[in-house]
């Protein structure tokens, strides 16, 4: 599944220069692993929720890509959701937001 997504990402990279700031494929693998294993410790490894909210596409409809990107980077004050800015770049966070909304990380 990831391979397919990478292939699509690479194709769209070629087609749309605006996506040139996407992480490389090795980084995409790292980010997928991070989302499942480390985000997963609160949100569930299959992203169905835990102490944190579920992160499946239907749960994320109410936020757009930029809002999710900002939540990832800045956290949600008053909740255990931490700011990931020290560990993730804007491009990383945007890629995760897209991948979650589109259900590419399971």
């Amino acid at each position: 599944m990831l391979r397919l997504f990478e292939a699509i990402a690479v194709l769209s990279l070629a087609a749309q220069p605006v996506l040139a700031e996407q992480p490389g494929s090795a980084r995409m693998s790292e980010l997928t692993y991070l989302v499942r294993q480390d985000c997963g410790s609160c949100h569930g490894m299959t992203l169905k929720g835990g102490l944190g909210k579920p992160l499946q596409p239907t749960n994320l409809k109410q936020w757009d890509r930029e809002q999710l990107t900002q939540i990832i980077l800045n956290g949600v004050p008053g909740t255990p959701m931490p700011p990931w800015r020290d560990l993730l770049s804007e491009e990383d966070a945007r890629w995760i937001a897209d991948a979650l909304k589109q259900g590419h990380i399971k």
Partner: protein, 393 residues
């Protein structure tokens, strides 16, 4: 026809010794399980021989899974994240029973008499209690709170003496003590205003003190269960949660292993520190600077040492605290995602799961030498059967 003979001979050679072996008597006091979180399986281990005895599959989503043991130490009850409760037979390496008891759960406990297994649920929030033999539901305690009758996630579920279970309501900030003497009619004492966002809790080995960590405020919530009128008292108020706060990438855990000699050694949320608290007065007596944000601080069963692991991205490191001096006396790097530590019953060895290496490493706790290793797929929790005889584990 002649082809069948080699097959029969092979069958006899392989099957006969195996069947003889499976009939061999053995105890379970030195067994344990290791959770393989990504593959929904557990491996059964022999802690004397450092060997894997078998693997049991089909346990569902085991991220953050934990386990308790039957009093006879033959069965493990494994609590999966997806609400699955599985009773695993350690002697036959099979699933003895399995139920899907909710949509989303976080840990469980077994009553002091071994009759009841309780599971703490996020969705829908509350605690369900099962007959430990049949896994039939015997009581359901929904975590309903407030005027609007909202449901809270429940955390920090522990067993307490007298067929009781104690747990905390994350969203409500309450601590509930449920007496299951009559399983059909649980008596629940609700302690309100326990603090903001309790995230995990522990009970001391004597069953007296229940301590919940608070994510949303400075301090911890303490309940003396020996009191006739148990109430919540805040302890370690103002330890600095909130001041120069660091992002918390992984919630710390509180465990029954936190008590070491006359101290509690507890992770400080959002700090690169452990808090040392006097076990009688509950006053802070010191802080220990450590490598990063602690996740587990686990005392060796004799209380002489406390072993600490850390949150992402510093979770490749272990530090060992010497309790009498409160100093870090040893540090090493087993590898990225060193998630869990479990001591042998009297603490001569410790087993560490290193998720990203697909390994479990075994160390001598006095020399710190590595004395063994096992292969396991994405290992996380390690649980040894000796927990069966301890309150709160």
């Amino acid at each position: 026809m002649t082809r069948i003979w080699p097959a029969l001979v092979l069958f006899a050679l392989v099957w006969l010794p195996l069947s003889a072996q499976s009939a061999e008597l053995r105890g379970t006091g030195d067994l344990g399980i290791i959770i393989e979180r990504a593959s929904g399986s557990v491996v059964i281990v022999d802690t004397t021989r450092h060997a894997i005895l078998g693997r049991v599959t089909g346990l569902g989503d085991l991220s953050h899974a934990s386990a308790v043991f039957s009093r006879d130490q033959r069965y493990a009850y494994v609590f999966g994240r997806d609400g699955g409760l599985t009773k695993v037979d350690l002697l036959t390496a099979t699933v003895a029973k399995r139920v899907m008891q909710s949509g989303n759960s976080i840990g469980g406990a077994i009553s002091d008499d071994g009759q009841l297994v309780a599971v703490s649920n996020y969705e829908p929030g509350g605690v369900k209690v099962f007959n430990s033999t049949t896994l039939e539901l015997v009581a359901d305690i929904p975590a309903t709170y407030g005027e609007k009758a909202e449901m809270s996630k429940t955390v920090g579920l522990v067993d307490a003496p007298g067929r009781k279970f104690v747990f905390s309501l994350y969203d409500a900030g309450e601590i509930w003590i449920a007496d299951l003497s009559e399983p059909a009619a649980p008596q629940v004492r609700k302690l309100k205003n326990a603090g903001n966002q309790p995230y995990d809790a522990l009970i001391t080995g004597n069953g007296r003190h229940y301590i919940a960590g608070l994510f949303g405020e400075d301090g911890l919530a303490h309940v003396d269960l020996w009191s006739d009128q148990p109430e919540v008292r805040k302890i370690l108020q103002g330890y600095g949660r909130g001041e120069q706060e660091l992002p918390v990438y992984k919630m710390p855990h509180l465990e029954g292993w936190a008590q070491a000699d006359e101290l509690f050694i507890l992770p400080a949320v959002g700090h690169h520190q452990l808090l040392a608290m006097d076990a009688r007065t509950f006053e802070e007596v010191g802080r220990i600077d450590v490598h990063s944000q602690p996740v587990f601080a686990v005392a060796r069963p004799d209380g002489r040492q406390v072993w600490v692991n850390f949150a992402h991205p510093d979770n490749d490191t272990i530090q060992v605290i010497d309790v009498p001096s409160l100093k870090v006396v040893h540090e090493f790097k087993p590898g990225p995602a060193t998630l869990h530590m479990e001591f042998t019953p009297r603490g001569h060895e410790v087993w560490l799961s290193v998720r990203d290496s697909d390994k479990v490493y075994i160390y001598d706790t006095r020399t710190f030498e590595k004395v063994g290793e096992l292969d396991a797929a994405k290992p996380s929790g390690i649980f040894f059967t000796a927990r069966a005889g301890r309150t709160g584990l």
